[in-house]
């Protein structure tokens, strides 16, 4: 029973990671850059929830919708202001700008909301009894919601015009452009979707623990990013797999008091080991330069 409970907990936090990792992976696939500021979009989502649901007293679901919109707009704005001017510049420059953006968002949030934690209490989710088995409703909600979102995303990418255009752009930007695909539009859409997913992740995170502060997204961001790399960055199923793996490992590591403090070290060690064995991640495509 204990095992199953730990596994379910791991799956639910893993699906949150997967949701964030999807944002990283999609942006990487399309724009070929690591959006370091992605984790901080989660934090902005958390604060939006705080303002809408707590300060203005809106219904949590309305608040969620607003947070999603807000994050999507933020993601697009970041792309237009910071990343677009650098398209075609060295990837190192883009990466450093992204790191700067992450810093900027954090300090801006700290300036506006101060450094104290803000509490966001949306629902009071109790526990669900199934016979003698008790699981928290949070786990059920997170798991089911993220499953729905991920399936929807996969279908979207596979079966819609925009989704297929995304695949085309990720394969070859120049060729896609020649085929009449508006690459700029696709990149914008990708940032919007990725950031919207981050807002969902932020929602799940505040459901689990209410305090929101300026570094809310930093650690989950880095972990999800690790998850995306483990799964093979640029691959959507890879991000899901990596995220879930991350959550499950974390959940099991935390059951043992001896190992618990080293959870972070273990997670990152897994990353290093996997990258050494498979340099492009578990499901990542191996590409090589033509000589």
């Amino acid at each position: 029973m204990k095992f199953l409970e730990t596994l379910l907990n791991g799956l639910s936090s893993g699906s949150t990671y997967a949701m964030i990792a999807l944002g990283y992976t999609m942006v990487y696939g399309i724009a070929k850059m690591l959006n370091f500021a992605h984790g901080d979009v989660i934090m902005v989502g958390g604060y939006t929830l705080f303002v809408t649901a707590m300060t203005m007293g809106m219904h949590p679901l309305v608040a969620l919708l607003l947070a999603v919109i807000c994050c999507a707009i933020l993601g697009v704005t970041i792309e237009k202001l910071a990343y677009k001017p650098l398209r075609g510049a060295s990837p190192l420059a883009v990466l450093i700008t992204a790191i700067g953006m992450s810093y900027l968002l954090q300090s801006m949030a700290q300036m506006i909301f101060g450094s104290a934690d803000r509490m966001v209490r949306l629902f009071d989710l109790g526990k669900i009894n199934i016979g003698s088995f008790r699981i928290s409703a949070y786990t059920v909600v997170t798991l089911s919601c993220s499953a729905v979102i991920m399936v929807a995303l996969s279908l979207f990418v596979k079966y819609t015009r925009i989704g297929r255009a995304m695949i085309a752009v990720s394969e070859d930007k120049a060729a896609a452009q020649l085929m009449g695909i508006n690459v700029n539009f696709i990149i914008t859409i990708t940032f919007a979707i990725g950031s919207a997913l981050a807002a969902f992740a932020g929602f799940f995170m505040v459901l689990k623990s209410p305090p929101v502060n300026s570094t809310l997204g930093a650690m989950p961001g880095i972990k999800a990013f690790t998850a995306a790399v483990i799964g093979g960055i640029g691959s959507i199923p890879g991000a899901m797999l990596g995220g879930i793996l991350m959550g499950v490992v974390e959940s099991f590591a935390q059951t043992s008091p001896v190992i618990a403090p080293f959870t972070v070290a273990i997670e990152f060690s897994i990353l290093i080991v996997i990258l050494l064995v498979r340099p492009s991640g578990i499901l990542g495509k191996k590409r090589r330069e033509k000589v």
Binding site: T97, G100, L104, I233, F268
Partner: protein
């Protein structure tokens, strides 16, 4: 006459300035006429300069992004402090300098070993992937030191450190800066440095030209880590306690900001930027108190973004060329194109900009070629 003209004095400006600064402040320091604020500032500046110069070796010259420089520093600081504490207990006071030197060596070597360890994945990974591995490494190191039993490294409270030679430590710090600069600069300006920059420009061509890429990548990571470790030990001597939270990911980023601000591939730039940022940090800490402290982070972030965009945006290329100081100066000077100067004298013109798109692209894995259907096997 011609001999005199050939003196490459430009190469030595940084050394001269550093030595002058050391003598100037050292003189007042020995007379105890410097206030505490200045000595602290000088100590911090020395640590920052060593860190920035050593990180620039990896980022600017090898062209790989390392986000775990604070991790190497952390190893150096902890082991240096531990060594110093142990040695003080056994050797007693009076041997400060010897203890300091031994601690520096222990911390540096320990960090260098970590450099080899992190250099190994660097052989297989490039660009973004390597960046995340170095970031992970930094976090692993920090969390290990934080969570080991308290008896070993003091746990989350931090490792006890010894504070020696309070007023004169910065002199030693500056001497270390000069040594670091000399060694790294000499390395870069030698055939070995040329090999390293060739790997940055095109790894495939470097291999085809017979450069031992493996050796040089490991070497660069080791040297860089060694000096980060030295900086860590120096840092530990300025503290009462070495705390794990100091060395978090933000600290690595701060070092990276120095390198970016000073210009990737420019050691003098790194020195200036390290000085500037340390000074600003201290001053802003005084000016911006309470809630305003956030402004500091905000400013850094903005400066970093704007600077990188200004320097790299393809759309601004024409503008950049127009506004560059070099070109403005060139207009003032009359240039005689018929005369060819050897670039021997301008070793400071080690290329400073990474523009090659492929340098950081993840797709390139020349060392693990496409696996043919049936792997060729050595004939027995």
């Amino acid at each position: 006459m011609s001999k005199f003209r050939n003196v490459k004095w430009k190469q030595y400006v940084a050394y001269l300035l550093l030595i002058a600064a050391t003598c100037y402040f050292g003189f007042f320091g020995l007379q105890r006429s410097l206030d505490r604020i200045t000595t602290i500032l000088l100590e911090k500046a020395a640590v920052a300069m060593i860190l920035a110069v050593s990180l620039n070796l990896v980022v600017g010259f090898l062209g790989e992004l390392s986000l775990g420089h604070a991790g190497f520093m952390c190893v150096g600081a902890y082991l240096g402090a531990k060594t110093a504490v142990a040695l003080t207990a056994s050797m007693g006071p009076g041997n400060e300098l010897v203890i300091l030197l031994i601690s520096l060596l222990v911390g540096g070597v320990a960090a260098a070993v970590c450099g080899v360890v992190i250099g190994l994945p660097a052989l297989r990974l490039r660009g973004d992937y390597l960046a995340i591995v170095t970031l992970a490494f930094g976090e692993i190191v920090r969390s290990i030191f934080e969570n080991l039993p308290d008896e070993m490294f003091g746990g989350s409270l931090g490792q006890q450190a010894v504070r020696y030679i309070r007023h004169h430590l910065f002199i030693i710090g500056f001497i270390l800066v000069i040594l670091t600069l000399a060694i790294i600069q000499n390395f870069i300006r030698s055939k070995h440095g040329r090999a390293v920059t060739s790997i940055r420009d095109s790894e495939i061509a470097a291999r085809a030209t017979g450069i031992n890429v493996t050796k040089y990548k490991l070497m660069v990571f080791t040297i860089s880590a060694f000096f980060a470790g030295i900086a860590g030990v120096l840092f530990s001597f300025t503290q009462n306690k070495v705390q794990p939270t100091t060395f978090d990911y933000n600290y690595s980023i701060e070092i990276l900001v120095m390198v970016v601000l000073g210009g990737m591939g420019s050691l003098n730039g790194s020195l200036i930027a390290a000085l500037l940022i340390t000074y600003l940090n201290e001053q802003l800490q005084i000016v911006l108190t309470g809630d305003l402290a956030v402004l500091r982070g905000l400013m850094y972030a903005l400066v970093m973004i704007l600077l990188v965009i200004y320097r790299n945006a393809p759309a601004l290329k024409v503008f950049r060329e127009k506004a560059s100081i070099k070109n403005l100066l060139a207009k003032l000077k009359t240039h005689d194109p018929s005369k060819i100067h050897d670039d021997e004298a301008s070793w400071d013109r080690v290329p400073t900009k990474i523009m090659v798109d492929e340098v950081l692209s993840v797709d390139i894995q020349p060392q693990s070629p496409y696996t043919p259907d049936k792997q060729w096997k050595e004939e027995k």
